[in-house]
């Protein structure tokens, strides 16, 4: 802005910045998911995805190197633990062979009785993680052009990772189950008690049982209940590591360690069918 005094120019710039911010916040808060700012956001994410994807590959050896150095002391302890587990697993392996034959028969019966719905999935690669310290989000390189829709579940062979909360044409944002905003219906696979699994922005989850009389033990496996309609039932989530009794008759607090190791994630599966009920309802509206 030539010809304008510096002080006045600075004042104009400051006012402009504040006005632009306020306008953007207002427009974003009032518009729907298909509003212009949401579209720009999706478009922007699509543009940077190839770059971050390439950089993630370049930086992987550096990351692995740093992580190895950091984890060196625990590796020795892990080695001893693994040796102990090998002995135990060899013994269990013999028992498992017998049980597997029985399980195959039961599975065949179960499929026949339930007519198990075919779950279509799409593989995706994690290309970026949230730069935000208050959220646990990841960006994957699959979007609406691959059939991905909002609220679809994201899994790995270990268990539930999270769900899609924002979809671009070639990328999507995944909200991890550890995110403080995440809440998923869960079930104790041993006792069949249901509850809600909440993220805490930490490495563990909080399971809030529906019933105060529910019995939980350390080691119990938690799977998705399917209640709430966002996640298909039966997806493994984690194992109970701690059971706390809150005072004044409040609901018992159960801490669950997820099966998925989020720091080592690079590839995930997005469950396309069955579609989450919330997405179907939204489309119907």
């Amino acid at each position: 802005m030539p010809g304008i005094p510096r002080v006045r120019r600075n004042r104009i710039i400051l006012i402009l910045i504040v006005m632009v911010c306020v306008t953007m916040i207002t427009v974003y808060a009032r518009e729907g998911d298909n509003g212009p700012l949401h579209k720009i956001q999706g478009f922007f994410t699509d543009i940077i995805t190839p770059f971050t994807s390439a950089l993630a590959k370049i930086f992987r050896p550096i990351k692995d190197g740093v992580m190895n150095v950091i984890h060196l002391p625990s590796l020795l302890q892990e080695k001893r633990e693994l040796e102990r587990q090998v002995v135990s697993l060899r013994r269990e392996s013999l028992e498992t062979k017998e049980l597997r034959a029985e399980l195959d028969k039961l599975k065949a019966l179960l499929r026949w009785s339930e007519g198990s719905p075919y779950k279509e999935t799409v593989g995706a690669e994690i290309v970026a993680q949230s730069p935000d310290n208050w959220r646990r989000l990841m960006i994957v390189n699959k979007g609406s052009s691959h059939g991905v829709k909002k609220y679809m579940s994201v899994v790995t062979d270990s268990g539930l990772v999270g769900r899609i909360i924002s979809v671009g044409s070639r990328s999507s944002v995944v909200q991890l189950i550890t995110d403080a905003q995440s809440a998923v219906g869960g079930r104790n696979s041993r006792t069949r008690e249901t509850g809600i699994l909440e993220g805490r922005n930490e490495s563990t989850l909080r399971f809030i049982p529906m019933s105060e009389e529910a019995v939980f033990e350390v080691g119990d496996m938690i799977v998705t209940s399917g209640l709430g309609g966002s996640c298909p039932p039966g997806i493994p989530v984690g194992r109970v590591t701690e059971v706390r009794k809150r005072g004044r008759g409040l609901t018992r607090l159960v801490i669950v360690k997820p099966f998925v190791q989020f720091s080592r994630l690079d590839k995930v599966l997005i469950i396309i069918t069955p579609e989450p009920e919330s997405a179907i309802l939204k489309e119907a509206q």
Binding site: L14, I25, A29, T45, I48, K63, P131, D132, W134, S166
Partner: protein, 173 residues
């Protein structure tokens, strides 16, 4: 601000943006990562002035707002406002020491997170994790460590046309 310096800051912002999305989330310490864009905005605010820092903070914050699903404008505002405050605060110090950017960015890190968290909470559209003081201080500390790396690098590109009071003092950085 010289053309060479503008290019250097632009490049630093671009590299930081890509690093922030690809490398730093993998190198979290105590579950947090530094806010590189705030650090660059703070460096510019300290070395060039509050308005220049404010512009850099705005552009950097907007870039992050557009990546993900957060409300667009909140991150831009929080970083721009913080850089401006830091630039104004810097002018209040008569003497300059190596510790000044460290202390200013630590303070800026706290302010930025409170603005960002507070902004989103007030808007109510994004329910974030509860404000955690330990988390808050760790991020601010991490930011202030990172500025010790960025500060001398960006200062190297400070042209002779912008010899302000900072250039006149003996900094040792």
């Amino acid at each position: 601000m010289s053309r060479r310096r503008k290019i250097a800051i632009g490049l630093a912002m671009l590299i930081s943006y890509l690093l922030q999305l690809s490398l730093f989330p993998e190198l979290k310490i105590s579950g947090v990562q530094p806010d590189l864009m705030l650090v660059i905005a703070a460096v510019v605010a300290i070395q060039d002035g509050p308005v220049e820092g404010c512009i850099v903070g705005f552009i950097g914050g907007l870039a992050f707002d557009l990546t993900g699903s957060q409300v667009v404008g909140v991150g831009a505002f929080s970083r721009a406002a913080t850089a401006f405050i830091l630039g104004v605060f810097k002018d209040m110090f008569v003497t300059y020491t190596v510790l000044l950017p460290f202390v200013l960015v630590f303070f800026g890190g706290l302010v930025e997170q409170l603005l960002y968290h507070g902004g989103l909470t007030v808007l109510g559209s994004e329910v974030l994790a509860p404000l955690n003081v330990k988390h808050l201080f760790t991020v601010a500390f991490y930011d202030s460590i990172v500025i010790l790396v960025f500060f001398p690098i960006i200062k190297k590109f400070k042209g002779s046309d912008s010899a302000d009071q900072l250039g006149a003092v003996r900094t040792g950085m």
